[in-house]
C-alpha cells in the first residue's frame, strides 16, 4: 500500500510539475497540446477557476458583509485545487468558509462546501458526521447525498455509498454528480464498461463551454480505457482532454499511465518526474 501511495504521490506531483514547467517533450513531439496553456500559473490567460476567484474577490470587495462572496471564493479555490492539484488552495478555501460562517453561522450551503473541503483534506470521519447532520436537516438535498457517497466509500462502507448514490440518481435522474459517483462505484465493483458508459453520459451532458469539466471526464474515461487494456483509445481520450484544457495535470498524469502500459518508460519518467519542493495535492498523498 505504501508503495502504491508513493506512486500516487509521484504520479500527481509529476503531473503538476509537468504542467508547471509547461513542457512535455514527448507529448509535444506527438502533437500533445500541453504546452499551450499552463493551468498552474496565471502568466497567460486566467483559467476558469482563476476567473472565478477574481470574481469572488470582487464580490467580497463590494459586499464584505455578505457571506455569499466568501462561499463563492471557497468554491472557486476548491476548483483551483483541482485545476492545479495544489493542496494550498484547500487551506485558503477553509479560511474563506470560516469568514462565511462568521457572517452567517450554520448556513446550509456553506456547511456543504465545508464538508467538501473536509473530504479533500481526508478528514473522512468528520466529513461523514457533518454530511449526516446535513442530511438530517434536509432529507432531499441531492448534493448532501453526494457528500455521503464519497465519505462512505472512503471509509469502506460501499453498501451505504451505493445507497446514497442511488438516492442521488432517483432524486435527480441523470444529474452529473450522481453519474460520476455511480461511475466510480461501478469501477470499484469491477464494472469497467458500465463505469465508462456513465462517464460518457456525463460527458455528453456537459456543456461544450465547460472545458475543464470535460477534460476531467475525458481523463477518467482514459483511465478506464487503460484499465481495460485499450491504450490507443486511452491516448485518444487524453489528447482530447489536453486539447480541451491544456496542461491539465490530471490528464498529463493519466498520459503517463498510458506510457507505462505501453512500456515507454522513459517517456513516462519525463511525465512523472517530481518537481523538488512541490507540495502535492493532499488528497493524493
Amino acid at each position: 500500500m505504501k508503495k502504491f501511495l508513493a506512486l500516487m504521490f509521484m504520479w500527481m506531483t509529476a503531473a503538476t510539475w509537468v504542467s508547471t514547467i509547461g513542457v512535455s517533450t514527448t507529448c509535444v513531439a506527438q502533437g500533445n497540446p500541453t504546452t499551450s496553456t499552463n493551468p498552474t500559473t496565471s502568466a497567460a490567460e486566467p483559467s476558469p477557476a482563476e476567473r472565478s476567484i477574481a470574481e469572488a474577490q470582487r464580490t467580497i470587495g463590494e459586499k464584505p458583509e455578505q457571506y455569499t462572496g466568501y462561499n463563492l471564493l471557497a468554491t472557486a479555490l476548491i476548483h483551483r485545487a483541482r485545476e492545479t492539484s495544489e493542496a494550498r488552495y484547500y487551506a485558503q478555501a477553509d479560511n474563506a468558509i470560516e469568514k462565511s460562517l462568521q457572517l452567517a453561522p450554520n448556513n446550509f450551503d456553506t456547511r456543504k462546501i465545508q464538508v467538501s473541503i473536509l473530504l479533500g483534506e481526508h478528514e473522512f470521519p468528520a466529513a461523514l458526521d457533518a454530511a449526516q447532520a446535513l442530511n438530517k436537516q434536509s432529507l432531499d438535498d441531492v448534493m448532501v447525498y453526494g457528500l455521503l457517497t464519497v465519505a462512505y466509500a472512503e471509509l469502506g462502507d460501499y453498501k451505504d455509498a451505493e445507497t446514497a448514490a442511488q438516492w442521488m440518481l432517483n432524486l435527480r435522474p441523470g444529474n452529473l454528480p450522481a453519474l460520476i459517483n455511480a461511475a466510480r462505484l461501478r469501477e470499484l465493483f469491477g464494472d469497467i464498461d458500465g463505469s465508462y458508459e456513465l462517464l460518457q453520459m456525463a460527458y455528453d451532458s456537459t456543456p461544450p463551454t465547460e472545458n475543464e469539466q470535460r477534460a476531467w471526464l475525458l481523463t477518467q474515461m482514459g483511465h478506464l480505457r487503460v484499465a481495460s487494456g485499450n491504450t490507443d483509445a486511452a491516448e485518444k481520450l487524453l489528447q482530447q482532454a489536453l486539447a480541451s484544457f491544456p496542461s491539465y495535470p490530471l490528464s498529463v498524469g493519466a498520459l503517463a499511465e498510458v506510457r507505462i502500459a505501453q512500456k515507454r518508460y522513459e517517456e513516462a519518467v519525463v511525465l512523472l518526474s517530481p518537481l523538488p519542493g512541490h507540495i502535492a495535492h493532499r488528497e493524493f498523498i
Binding site: 500516487m8 468554491t75 432531499d140 464519497v150 432524486l171 455511480a182 461544450p208
Partner: protein, 497 residues
C-alpha cells in the same frame, strides 16, 4: 485506493460547480439542476394564441442565461433529455395529454474547429438550415414531436413527414448574415393547425436579478414600491433587465384548443371544461448504480428531472432543501408542499421590509395551485382538485389584442394574462410579488405596487408565432447593468446605480 482518491477529487469537482443563487424566473433554481443545465427548465408559458384564438401556444424554455458569444459549440439541446409539455384537462391534477420532444445531433464536419463557420476559408455564409447555404452548420440538430394520449398510451408522431431542424445560436453577422431568415426557416407548419419551433432565442424573461438577489436591494428611486408612473408604464424599464442580451433554448408548440380539451371541443370561459392545467418538464432515463444484465434495468424509462407550472414557485416558494424533491415529483403530489404555499417565507421577507401582508395560512395563494374562480369560474368546490403546481389556462377567455395587453395581466384586468396562463409580456415577477403580498386577499390593505422597475423585455416581443425573439448576436450583443444604457424610462436611458 486510487479509485477512492479519485472519488474525493470527484467530490471537490461536484461542489466547485455549485453556483451562487442566481436565478431568473427559474434560472438555476434547484441546487442540482444547476449541474444539469440542459435539463433546467427556466420558464413555461401557455396562452391562447394572439394570432389564432382557436389555438393555444406553449413555450418551454430550458438552459438558462446563455451568453451569446460563448462558442465554439454554443448551446445545443441535449440528445439524452426528453423535453415535455403536459396538459391536464379534467381538473384532477394528473396530465391527460403530453407532447414529447427529442433531439438528435449530427456533427457534419468533425474536423472543423467550431460548430458554426461561414464566410471563412472557403466556407460560404450560413444562410440555410439545410442544403446549399448550410455547409457551415457543422453542428446541426433535428428533432421529433410526439403527442401521447396518457389514458390510452396512443403515441402520434406529429412531424408530418418533415425533418425539423433546430435553429442554432446567432453566431454573428459574418457567419450568419441573415439570422432572421434562419430563424424563420425554423418555423414549421405541421398541418392540422399545428406549428412548431425549436432553437436558441432571446430569453424573454425580464427582471432586475442583481438587485433582487442582493437581499432585495433595488435602486432607491425605483423599487420595491413603484411610483404610480412607473407602475402604470408597460413599455419602459427603470432598472436594468439583467437577462437582456442573454439567450435561452426554446421549444414552441401551437395546437388547436380542440386537441387539448377533454371532449375535443371549444368551451366558453364559464365552462370548467374550458380550463386546462399545464406544465413543462424535462426527463432523463432512470439509472441504477449497479449495471443490470438487462439494459432496461440499469437505464430504464424516463424519469422527470425538472418541471415548471407557475413561474417562481420553485425558487420563491419551495424551501431550499425541498427544491430537488419538488422538481422530481409530479404536480398531483404537491399537497406535500402545501405548507410552503400556506406559510410562504417570501411573505415573511416582505413583512420584514415593512410591507403589510396577510396572516398565515395564506389560502389565497391556492388559486395558483387549484382549479378555482376566477380563472375557472365554472369550478365548484368539488372541482378544485389536489394542490398542484399547474399553470392554469381558461381557453374560453379570448386573447387580449396586441397593444392592449398589460404587463400585470390578470390582476390589472387583462384577463388573458398571468396567472390565467402566461404570455411573454406578463411581468410575472411583479405579479408574483403582489400575490405574495396579498393582493388577492384585499387590494386596499395589501396592494402596495411592488416591483423591480423592469416592466418590459429589452429586446421587445414577437407578436406572432413563435412569440419569441431571435437569439442575440454572439458578435454584437450587450448586457445591461447599473450605470449603463438600457433603461429607457430613466433620463438619458441610463440605469440607476
Amino acid at each position: 485506493m486510487k479509485k477512492l482518491k479519485l472519488l474525493v477529487a470527484l467530490a471537490t469537482a461536484l461542489f466547485m460547480l455549485v453556483p451562487c443563487s442566481l436565478f431568473a424566473s427559474s434560472h438555476r433554481e434547484a441546487p442540482i439542476t444547476a449541474l444539469d443545465r440542459s435539463a433546467d427548465v427556466t420558464d413555461w408559458y401557455a396562452f391562447v394564441s394572439y394570432q389564432n384564438p382557436n389555438n393555444v401556444t406553449f413555450i418551454l424554455n430550458v438552459d438558462p442565461l446563455l451568453e451569446p458569444s460563448n462558442g465554439p459549440n454554443y448551446f445545443p439541446f441535449d440528445n439524452s433529455v426528453q423535453y415535455e409539455m403536459f396538459v391536464d384537462n379534467n381538473q384532477d391534477g394528473i396530465p391527460d395529454i403530453a407532447f414529447f420532444f427529442r433531439f438528435n445531433t449530427e456533427i457534419r464536419q468533425p474536423d472543423l474547429f467550431t460548430g458554426f463557420v461561414g464566410n471563412l476559408a472557403g466556407v460560404p455564409p450560413i444562410t440555410s438550415l439545410s442544403g446549399t447555404g448550410s455547409e457551415g452548420l457543422s453542428l446541426r440538430q433535428t428533432y421529433t414531436v410526439t403527442m401521447v394520449n396518457l389514458h390510452t398510451g396512443k403515441s402520434t408522431l406529429l412531424n408530418n413527414g418533415k425533418t425539423l431542424f433546430a435553429v442554432p445560436s446567432n453566431v454573428g453577422p459574418k457567419t450568419m448574415p441573415d439570422y432572421q431568415s434562419l430563424f424563420n426557416q425554423g418555423i414549421y407548419d405541421l398541418g392540422n393547425g399545428i406549428c412548431v419551433f425549436a432553437g436558441t432565442v432571446d430569453d424573454p424573461f425580464f427582471i432586475d436579478l442583481g438587485a433582487f438577489f442582493d437581499s432585495v436591494n433595488f435602486p432607491s428611486t425605483v423599487g420595491p414600491i413603484l411610483s404610480p408612473t412607473i407602475d402604470a408604464d408597460n413599455t419602459h424599464n427603470y432598472a436594468p433587465d439583467a437577462v437582456a442580451g442573454f439567450n435561452v433554448n426554446s421549444i414552441v408548440l401551437e395546437v388547436p384548443i380542440t386537441m387539448l380539451t377533454v371532449d375535443g371541443k371549444i368551451h366558453p370561459a364559464s365552462d370548467k371544461q374550458a380550463v386546462i392545467g399545464t406544465y413543462g418538464a424535462t426527463a432523463r432515463h432512470h439509472i441504477t448504480v449497479r449495471n443490470s444484465p438487462n439494459p432496461d434495468g440499469s437505464s430504464g424509462a424516463f424519469q422527470q428531472v425538472n418541471r415548471e407550472g407557475n413561474s417562481l414557485i420553485n425558487e420563491a416558494v419551495i424551501g431550499t432543501g425541498f427544491k430537488d424533491r419538488f422538481s422530481e415529483d409530479f404536480p398531483a403530489n404537491d399537497s406535500q408542499f402545501a405548507n410552503f404555499f400556506l406559510n410562504p417565507v417570501a411573505a415573511a421577507v416582505l413583512h420584514s421590509l415593512g410591507v403589510p401582508v396577510p396572516p398565515n395560512p395564506r389560502t389565497d395563494l391556492l388559486i395558483l395551485a387549484q382549479y378555482e374562480p376566477p380563472i375557472c369560474p365554472g369550478c365548484g368546490p368539488g372541482d378544485a382538485g389536489p394542490v398542484a403546481d399547474l399553470l392554469r389556462l381558461n381557453t374560453g377567455i379570448p386573447p387580449t389584442p396586441v397593444g392592449s395587453q398589460l404587463r400585470l395581466g390578470f390582476i390589472a384586468g387583462d384577463n388573458a394574462g398571468y396567472p390565467n396562463g402566461r404570455r411573454p409580456i406578463d411581468d410575472v415577477f411583479d405579479i408574483s410579488l403582489r400575490a405574495i403580498e396579498g393582493i388577492l386577499v384585499d387590494s386596499t390593505k395589501f396592494g402596495l405596487p411592488l416591483g423591480d422597475g423592469v416592466n418590459t423585455k429589452t429586446e421587445g416581443f414577437n407578436n406572432s408565432f413563435p412569440y419569441v425573439m431571435p437569439a442575440n448576436s454572439g458578435r454584437n450583443s450587450v448586457h445591461i447593468g447599473p450605470g449603463q444604457a438600457g433603461c429607457t424610462g430613466q433620463p438619458g436611458g441610463i440605469c440607476p446605480e
